[in-house]
């Protein structure tokens, strides 16, 4: 063993600093994080089909609640649209004098909760009716116009309460015969939306739980595959955190992959329905367009995916590492 002579190892037992300083230790710690992250990714890429399937499954589980959320957001936007375009029709009493009509119109326009008032005279109403029905010839012979004056009132807010207040005050005017404001459908729609939101939340929670279990099971296999390594690491003084680290990164990678797939699937879903929706909106003469995920929502989706991946890994590793003890 002549080669042994030049070896400087080991020197004296005793005062040997394990690590030269705190900054070195921090650097080594950071480097181990980087190495764990790279190594975990490499291990996933070695089995591309299995990893893709896992990540795709996570993506679907995330895309479902995301799409449901988008559907609700779009319906909400649409209903807001309707509510804001919703106007009250005040039918005035027959024989109301033009001066009284003008006075009421002026009063209403002065109100802060009224955006616009359009007065339609009986003659205008009849002409409109004739044009829409195509009965121009027949209606030309009508001697006594049965239509009253109508005021189309455009409110400022959309809140049901303020609309109701405006309606009641309008109805109290002497010259007003009847005010039409159909609010029942609005209230119902809001209730349905709330139900949908609860449903989306419940679905999201269930699918999130399913994702945790799926990641946990996948990680259990990964841990089992590296049992030897874990044993050796524990024997030479590896802390639980050290052992856990690469698996936590595996979970994070799964989460990241799942989040990206979820975004892709969500965009795909939007693209699939965008054309029919546009046609439908067109047939109603609406300029409505589907809303996709905003920057903030995209970020939230990715964060949720990462957190679920990390948490699933944490739970699995915590449970299974306890079982692996050096014998």
């Amino acid at each position: 063993m002549s080669r042994a002579r030049k070896a400087p190892l080991p020197t004296r037992a005793g005062a040997r600093p394990k690590v030269t300083g705190v900054s070195d230790r921090a650097r080594a710690w950071r480097q181990h994080h980087g190495r764990s992250a790279r190594d975990s990714l490499r291990r996933l890429l070695v089995v591309p089909v299995r990893s893709t399937l896992t990540v795709l499954m996570l993506g679907i589980a995330l895309a479902l609640p995301a799409l449901l959320y988008l559907a609700l957001a779009n319906v909400g936007q649409l209903s807001g649209h309707w509510a804001s375009s919703h106007q009250m029709s005040a039918y005035l009493k027959a024989g109301a004098r033009p001066a009284a009509v003008e006075a009421l119109t002026a009063t209403l326009r002065a109100r802060p909760d009224v955006a616009a008032v359009t007065a339609i005279s009986p003659e205008q109403g009849l002409a409109e009716f004739a044009r829409q029905t195509g009965l121009t010839g027949a209606l030309a012979n009508v001697k006594n116009n049965p239509l009253p004056w109508v005021l189309l009132v455009q409110p400022v807010g959309t809140a049901p309460e303020s609309l109701a207040t405006l309606r009641d005050q309008l109805a109290a005017e002497l010259v007003v015969d009847e005010v039409r404001l159909d609010m029942a459908w609005l209230t119902r729609l809001q209730a349905i939306m709330q139900l949908g939101q609860r449903f989306a939340l419940g679905l999201g929670c269930l699918l999130g739980l399913g994702m945790l279990l799926a990641i946990g099971n996948t990680l259990r296999l990964a841990i089992e595959n590296r049992r030897e390594e874990i044993l050796v690491v524990k024997l030479v003084g590896g802390t639980d955190a050290f052992v856990r680290r690469p698996f936590l990164y595996t979970g994070l990678w799964y989460g990241a992959g799942g989040g990206i797939w979820a975004l892709v699937l969500t965009q795909l879903g939007l693209w699939l329905v965008s054309k029919p929706v546009a046609q439908l909106a067109n047939s109603y003469g609406s300029q409505f367009t589907l809303q996709g995920l905003g920057a903030g929502e995209t970020l939230i989706l990715l964060m949720v995916a990462l957190i679920i991946g990390w948490l699933g890994a944490w739970l699995a590793v915590g449970r299974h590492l306890r079982d692996i003890k050096p014998q």
Binding site: P10, A13, D24, A28, E229, L231, V236
Partner: protein
């Protein structure tokens, strides 16, 4: 450095691996542990590694009582001890270099230090030229030397070896023993479990002999030979 005070270990299946074993190993000593399989050698080593807890008695290693060692301090305790296994416990998914580097990476050594120390350890066991190889490509003796390099790379104060020459021919065994002697000369405390009687006799070091969980003798083999009356107790051939 290693102190056993009336240590007993009974496993949950009722097997009593150790029955009231007491001994002391001073810093810088090189001691052999012998006995038939099942005599308690492995249990004794596991107690020192804090892989097992004694049922009775106390184990002190480098001044700390392992009974009072919190679970989270076990990794730090193990970092003071280098271990050489009979089946060397190398990882075949990485190179010789990475195997030896493992204890340093775990302990958080800066990478520049890791490279230097790993090469020094590999040089010491004569395998510097094989650092990039996979341990699977090495012979049994070489694998064992990689295991030794990994055990000493952290410059532990204590080196434990469980049948380190169990699978090796006499010539390779002598080489391994020579390595251990060199570590001992620079102050490392060694405890080597072996049932190779010939090897123990040649080494002329203190021998702890176990039989059925009890310490049968605690002597240097030459003394056994010059003093036949006592010698036969510790030596079964």
């Amino acid at each position: 450095m290693i102190h056993f005070d009336r240590v007993a270990k009974r496993y949950s299946n009722g097997f009593e691996a150790l029955k009231s074993v007491s001994f002391d190993i001073a810093a810088g000593e090189m001691v052999f542990l012998t006995g038939h399989s099942g005599a308690g050698k492995s249990t004794l080593l596991k107690l020192i590694m804090a892989m097992e807890q004694p049922s009775r008695g106390q184990v002190l290693v480098n001044g700390s009582n392992l009974n009072r060692l919190a679970d989270r301090h076990i990794p730090l305790h193990r970092r003071q001890i280098g271990v050489v296994f009979q089946n060397h416990q190398l990882l075949f998914d990485r190179s010789v270099f990475d195997n030896v580097a493992l204890p340093l990476v775990i302990a958080g050594f800066p990478p520049s230090d890791v490279g230097r120390r790993v090469r020094a350890a590999l040089d010491k066991v004569g395998l510097l030229h094989k650092e990039a190889r996979n341990p699977l490509e090495l012979s049994g003796g070489e694998q064992q030397r990689v295991g030794i390099a990994r055990a000493v790379v952290n410059k532990p104060k204590i080196l434990l070896a469980d049948e380190p020459t169990g699978n090796l021919d006499p010539e390779l065994s002598a080489e391994i023993m020579e390595l251990f002697r060199q570590f001992n000369e620079v102050g490392v405390t060694l405890l080597i479990a072996s049932h190779d009687i010939e090897l123990l006799r040649r080494q002329q070091k203190r021998v702890l002999a176990l039989r059925e969980g009890e310490l049968l003798s605690d002597q240097v083999p030459t003394a056994l030979h010059s003093d036949g009356a006592k010698g036969h107790r510790g030596h079964h051939e």
